[in-house]
Structure formats: structure tokens, C-alpha cells
């Protein structure tokens, strides 16, 4: 949130409440205010694709508002026709007719003058997992599989704690450099990678996934991403080459323990 931008906008909108502006002016102020708030009022700034989409929706809504009342519409229509036909407005009309094409041309110029951007690639953040993977020759069922040590939590808390401790060790010797001490994806080397390492504290990451999904992502890493997750820029290694199956399950236990999230369970079969 950028309050320096938002505060004046709010003030102007409050002032607007007490002024008698005609519908066109009113809509124009709203449109500009929405544009400024969306483009500059949010920190960090939104990507331009999103600004475009939001403004599209706002424009649609304001157009709906303009046309919802017949008297408003007639007012606008009459004003437009007057502007287009009345002799009195010839000069401003002529100016508009000249200015708008210039503006359009200038816009093209700005586009051309913009610094080139490296090709952007939309990534699929949660790619669908395969139904099973082969881990060191062993098939791991991702659909119906479970973390084999999860049940210890209830059955043998002592053993479960041992697995957690092992998971903690694995995490802090392998994962912490990128995913960070607090599992927020802000490790020592995180700033050097794009996409940035995943933030496990975020309730929209591991809290939404089954443990087998994590196993797949850890074991297969970026090289094992399916095609829709290209461009494979992720630096996540395929840990199957460096960790044992037990270590991976343990670190998964630890990740949930540390963040306080619960893994998604397989939906009940009805």
C-alpha cells in the first residue's frame, strides 16, 4: 500500500461527494482515481497485465453506470451531439479532432521508445503431478500414497519426534540456503534465483497440497517439472540424487511442523 498516493485520492473522492459535477465529470474522476490507485497506490506495483484487466472491469462498470439511467444517457448523448454539431463548439471540436490522432501517434512513439523487456513466460506454479513416480527404482503412488511416517504422530510420538529431528537436520543442511530459516523463501542465496524459492509459510503453498505432491517436487525438482511448467528456470534440484526416501519424507514432516500448516488430505472417497 502506498498511502502517499492513496490518501490524496481518498481526499479527492470525499471532496467529489460534496461537489455538483455532471455525470461525465463524475465518471471521469472515478476512472482516473481508480487508475491511479491501481497503478501507483499498491506496493509493490502490479504487473501491467493485471492493471489492464482491472481497468477493463472498472471501465465496464462505469459504462454500465453511465447507461443505467435514461436521463443520464440522454444528457450525455445530447451533450455529445451538441459538441459535434453546434457551431459554437467548432473550434474545440477541431482541436479534439487534431489532438486525438496526435495523442495516438505519441502513444505509438512511447511504445517504440520503451526499453526492451526480456521475454516473459507465464509459469504454472502448481503443475499437476503424475499419478506415480519412480524413486530409485521404487514406484511411489502420488494419488493414494501417504507419508509413511505420518501415522507415527499418533501411534509412536517418540519415533515421530526422531523423524522430525532428522527432517530438521535435512532442512538445515540442504534447503535453508534458498528457502530460508523461516521457510519464507528468503534464504541466503534466494535473491540470485528466478523464480524465487517457494515460501512455505504462505497459506497458498504447502498448506494446499498433499504430502505426496511435496515428495514429487522435492524428489524430481526443476528437471522433473511437466511441460506446462516450462521454462524450467527453477533452480530446485532433483533431490532424489542426493537424499534417501526417508530423508525426504522426514523433511516434509518437518516443513509442516515448522510452519504449523497441515497437509491436505486425500479427499474422502464417497
Amino acid at each position: 500500500m502506498n498511502y502517499l498516493v492513496l490518501a490524496p485520492i481518498v481526499l479527492v473522492m470525499i471532496a467529489l461527494r460534496f461537489t455538483r459535477l455532471n455525470i461525465l465529470g463524475w465518471l471521469a474522476v472515478w476512472w482516473i482515481a481508480a487508475y491511479l490507485a491501481i497503478s501507483y497506490g499498491i506496493e509493490p506495483p502490479l504487473p501491467s497485465s493485471i492493471i489492464g484487466m482491472f481497468m477493463g472491469i472498472v471501465t465496464l462498470a462505469l459504462l454500465a453506470y453511465l447507461t443505467v439511467r435514461t436521463d443520464d444517457m440522454n444528457f450525455v448523448k445530447r451533450a455529445a451531439i451538441r459538441f459535434l454539431t453546434d457551431k459554437k463548439y467548432t473550434l474545440p471540436l477541431a482541436l479534439t479532432v487534431i489532438a486525438l490522432p496526435l495523442l495516438a501517434a505519441f502513444n505509438v512513439y512511447l511504445d517504440a521508445a520503451k526499453a526492451p523487456q526480456p521475454p516473459a513466460a507465464g509459469r504454472t506454479v502448481h503443475p499437476p503431478p503424475p499419478t506415480e513416480i519412480t524413486f530409485k527404482g521404487k514406484k511411489i503412488d502420488l494419488v493414494n500414497g501417504v507419508n509413511p511416517y505420518r501415522e507415527l504422530q499418533a501411534e509412536d510420538p517418540e519415533a515421530f519426534r526422531a523423524h522430525l529431528a532428522n527432517g530438521r537436520k535435512v532442512y538445515f543442511q540442504n534447503c535453508v540456503f534458498c528457502h530460508g530459516d523461516n521457510m519464507e523463501g528468503k534464504g541466503l542465496f534466494a535473491h540470485a534465483f528466478d523464480p524465487l524459492p517457494a515460501n512455505f509459510q504462505d497459506p497458498t503453498t504447502i498448506a494446499m497440497l498433499q504430502e505426496t505432491y511435496l515428495f514429487w517436487r522435492i524428489a524430481k525438482g526443476a528437471p522433473g517439472l511437466p511441460e506446462e511448467s516450462t521454462p524450467w528456470a527453477s533452480a530446485m534440484p532433483a533431490w532424489e540424487h542426493f537424499l534417501s526416501e526417508e530423508e525426504i519424507w522426514d523433511v516434509i514432516l518437518f516443513m509442516y511442523e515448522y510452519t504449523g500448516h497441515k497437509p491436505r488430505e486425500k479427499e474422502e472417497v464417497h
Partner: protein
């Protein structure tokens, strides 16, 4: 006997001291609350007992602080004294950039305080010496160029350059020998990168750091008089780095030039090319893991003409290692957490490499960023700085790197005041391989080996994929599309006016 008296006296004053004690050491409940946080968030690195014996200790350099030693680097108190309560809180909250200690903005003031109380319980003296008084920090006067210039003299007079180097890049002559209190190698700060300052990047931070010193490290405290000179030194250090934040780039832009690319001109060739700074991370993934790379950033510039392209890599390193040899093929023993940190020696030279896909990629698919993969090969332009010729490798994975002659590459390199520059040159077109075309984005990545750090093979610093953009020499004039769009708008507008006039004239 004497000890007995002290104990006796101590017992006598105990009732009086208790409230004061509580202020310094906190209540049982506060320490307990601190311990809870500590055990969950801190013990992995600083150890359950606060003694920095932990699963993660060997993986970080500088190593996590040992709280039982009572030595703290970042304080507002005089050299050798314990830090204040606020100092501890600040260090936890802000963390230390470019070390394993992250900032903890999510801790509330109360949590920070509880933690600080608990940390103090690891070292008994906190209770004994009463409340430590911070050294008063004067309000910083405004920065001035003149003061910075004067600061250069203070910098020289106080022998700062012995460690920090003539240009402040951390390359002083005694820098390679520095060890901390625990006999661990330690590096002098690179003063040209203020964002890496552990104690903070502001002028007040710099002032505090050199007036109070960094206990446990070879950085002593300086009492420079008169006080203006203290600020002159601060201003000089401040003037060495351009900003508090690294301005990391996402792409490098190659500038088109018309003259021939003459490597004899060296760095001057790139005077007009915009620099792009890329962060370098340790290769912590595959065997040969490098947890503390010697280089943390690399600057890239590039120029091209009709026939050739030249890419210059520059980076800061403490020593120019031009003895020994280096190669991506050299074997590395697996990381051994038990082994002491090895450095120095003349076995391995400094080296750097430019990594590029072997073929212009179709779409967004690139070789795996490590050293390519079986599906997509990677070109490695390699510079062993002990030699003056470039080498060329094709990578299909870390264990599948083949030397392939020199790949048509030429190389010049130069070390000056803590900064290496290595310039590669190649013809822009390669039959059946990667060609550089005007207006195209080519994926590019970099790797750097610090010989002093005994980096070689897969033990290295690396970047992820970025892009190299060849800025077209002749930009297409936007006039035609501008005219087109303007005319189209004009026609539409005139159409609207004509329609309205015919239909509504006189009726509105």
C-alpha cells in the same frame, strides 16, 4: 579467601540488585518465552545450548554466533563490552545481509525482547556487570564531497587499506590472512558494496562500526580525533559505494558499435555499454557444494559489431590467483562438514565462465542451469585466468562436460585493485550452433571460481539464467506506425463527426 569475600559481598547486595537484575536479565517468564522462540527458530544454527554447535554450523561462513563466548560484533557499546539489550534486539530484527542470519521482521518488539533476555542467559557476565552503557552516537552531519576527500587521507593514515584495499574492495594486502577469534578465516568487507555491510549501510551504521569495532573479528575500534575526521572517514567509505541496495539486473544489453572490436583496448572498449550486475550464489546443489562462494556478484557488459561480439565480466575478489590451474572438469571431494574451511594455496587459479545454450532455443526451454542436461547442451566459454587463452566446453550435465577446443574464442583479462575483468570475443555467427542476432534475447548465465577459496569443478559460484540482448544498431523509425495510428484515429473521428452532423444537424 578473596573469592569468598566477593561471594559474601555479592550475597549482601543481592536483595538490592534484584530489580536491576530483572531489568537486565528479564523475568523467568520472559526468558521462558524467549527460549520457546529460540528453540524453534534459532537453535538449528546457534545450537540448543547457544554454543553454535548445531546441524547447520558447518554450512555457514561467517559461522553462527556463539552466545556463550560473550563476544558480539554489533554493539553500540565500547569495544570489548557487552551489547545493550537494544543492540541484541536490533541484530535479530535486521539480521545480517549476505550471511545465514536472516532478518526477522515478523517478531514483535516483545518477542525480540524475550529472545534477547534468553540469549543473555547463555553468558553469565550479562548479570554481573550491570547495565552496559551505549556510546553516545553523535547526530551525523550532512555528507559533503570535501569531507569524503579528506576521509581518503584518514583512510590511508589509519591503515584501513591494509585490509580493505586501496579502492576499498576488501583486497588489502593482509586481507587473505585474516582470522577471527575462533581462528576461522574471515574476509574484510568490500566497501564498494554497502548492501553487504553486516552492521548496516547507513552513515550512522558506518560510524558506529568503526568507533566501536567488531569484537571477535580483526576489525578494531578507532578513536580518531578530531571528531570531524571521524565523519570524514565515514563519508569516504560512504562515497565508495553508490547505493544502499544492489541494483541487480535481469538482462544485459550489448551495444552495437561500428568499429572493429580490438581486445587490445581492454576495458575502454566497453565505456559506452551499460553495465548489468547479477547476483552470484553458491552451487549448493550437486556434489562439490560451495556454501560460501568467494564472489557474490558479477557485472557484465557487452558490445558487438557486424561480425563479432565481446562480453566483459568483472567481479571483485580479494586476491588475484594466477598460479595453479582451474577447469570445470577438476574433481571435487564431497563436502565434509567436519573438515576445517580450506583456503589459500597455489593450486587453483581464479576462473570465470559464460554459459549459453548450444543452440538458439526455440521457445522458452533452456538447458538445465547447472551445466546443461542430456536434452539441451550448454556452451561453456571458460577463462582460466592463469592462462591468456579461452577454453571451450560443451556441457550436458555436470558429469558430462567435454572440452571442445577454444570454440573460436579469444580472451583478455586483467586484475586491478581487487577487481578482475575478463573479456571474451567470438564471431557472432556459428554454423550449427548459437548465433547472436540483432534484436534477439539470448539466455545467458555465468559462473565464477575463486581460486583462493579453492573453488574448481562444480565447487563454484553461479548465476541463474538471464538474457543478453543485442540492441539493434539501427532502430527502426517509429514514424510509419505513428502516422498509421494517427491517420486511423483521424479517419474514425472525422467519420463520427460527419455521421453526427448529417443525422442530427439542427435537431439537438
Amino acid at each position: 579467601m578473596r573469592r569468598f569475600i566477593i561471594l559474601y559481598l555479592g550475597l549482601m547486595v543481592m536483595p538490592i540488585m534484584l530489580p536491576a537484575q530483572e531489568k537486565i536479565l528479564g523475568t523467568e517468564a520472559q526468558r521462558e518465552a524467549g527460549k520457546k522462540i529460540y528453540d524453534q527458530k534459532c537453535a538449528q544454527c546457534h545450537g540448543e545450548q547457544g554454543d553454535a554447535h548445531s546441524v547447520a554450523t558447518p554450512f555457514f561462513r561467517p559461522q553462527p554466533r556463539n552466545f556463550t563466548s560473550g563476544i558480539f560484533k554489533f554493539r553500540t557499546t565500547a569495544s570489548g563490552e557487552l551489547p545493550t539489550h537494544e543492540d541484541l534486539k536490533r541484530s535479530i530484527k535486521n539480521g545480517m545481509p549476505y550471511t545465514g542470519m536472516p532478518p526477522w521482521p515478523e517478531f514483535s518488539d516483545r518477542q525480540l525482547s524475550d529472545l534477547a533476555y534468553y540469549l543473555k542467559s547463555f553468558y553469565p557476565d550479562f548479570g554481573e556487570y550491570g547495565d552496559v552503557q551505549p556510546v553516545a552516537l553523535p547526530k551525523p552531519p550532512a555528507y559533503s564531497e570535501a569531507s569524503a576527500e579528506r576521509g581518503r587521507i584518514i583512510y590511508e593514515e589509519n591503515k584501513c587499506l591494509d585490509c580493505h584495499g586501496n579502492s576499498g574492495r576488501g583486497d588489502g594486502k593482509s586481507a587473505p590472512t585474516l582470522k577471527d577469534q575462533w581462528n576461522q578465516p574471515i574476509r574484510a568487507a568490500d566497501l564498494s558494496k554497502r548492501w553487504t555491510f553486516r552492521g548496516g549501510p547507513t552513515r550512522a551504521d558506518i560510524f558506529r562500526t568503526f568507533t566501536t569495532g567488531l569484537d571477535g573479528s580483526p576489525m578494531p575500534s578507532y578513536n580518531i580525533q578530531p571528531p570531524e575526521d571521524q565523519w570524514a572517514l565515514v563519508d569516504y567509505v560512504y562515497s565508495l559505494g553508490q547505493s544502499e541496495r544492489p541494483n541487480y539486473a535481469t538482462m544485459a544489453t550489448a551495444k552495437g558499435i561500428t568499429e572493429a572490436i580490438d581486445l587490445g583496448r581492454g576495458r575502454a572498449l566497453f565505456d559506452d555499454a551499460p553495465p548489468a550486475l547479477f547476483p552470484v550464489a553458491g552451487q549448493v546443489i550437486e556434489p562439490g557444494r560451495e556454501f560460501y562462494p568467494g564472489v557474490n556478484a558479477m557485472e557484465v557488459r557487452a558490445v558487438y559489431n557486424a561480425a563479432e561480439i565481446a562480453i566483459m565480466l568483472t567481479w571483485h575478489t580479494m586476491t588475484a590467483d594466477t598460479l595453479g590451474r582451474n577447469s570445470p572438469l577438476l574433481p571435487v571431494a564431497p563436502f565434509d562438514p567436519q573438515a576445517p574451511v580450506a583456503q589459500g594455496g597455489e593450486e587453483f587459479s581464479d576462473a570465470a565462465a559464460v554459459l549459453l545454450p548450444s543452440k538458439t532455443p526455440e521457445g522458452v526451454e533452456k538447458p538445465y542451469f547447472m551445466f546443461g542436461d542430456g536434452k539441451n547442451a550448454m556452451d561453456i566459454w571458460f577463462a582460466d585466468l592463469a592462462k591468456d587463452t579461452a577454453e571451450f566446453f560443451v556441457g550436458r550435465g555436470s558429469k558430462n562436460i567435454e572440452p571442445a577446443g577454444n570454440g573460436g574464442l579469444s580472451l583478455v583479462s586483467q586484475y586491478e585493485e581487487g577487481e578482475w575483468s575478463a573479456i571474451f570475443k567470438r564471431s557472432r555467427v556459428k554454423e550449427g550452433g548459437l548465433s547472436f542476432e540483432e534484436g534477439n534475447f539470448t539466455p545467458i548465465a555465468f559462473t565464477v571460481w575463486d581460486g583462493f577459496n579453492r573453488e574448481r569443478g562444480n565447487k563454484r559460484g553461479l548465476t541463474s539464467w538471464y538474457y543478453l540482448y543485442l540492441e539493434p544498431m539501427h532502430k527502426e523509425s517509429p514514424l510509419a506506425p505513428m502516422a498509421k495510428s494517427g491517420l486511423l484515429t483521424l479517419v474514425i473521428l472525422l467519420g463520427i463527426v460527419a455521421f453526427a452532423r448529417i443525422k442530427y444537424n439542427g435537431k439537438a
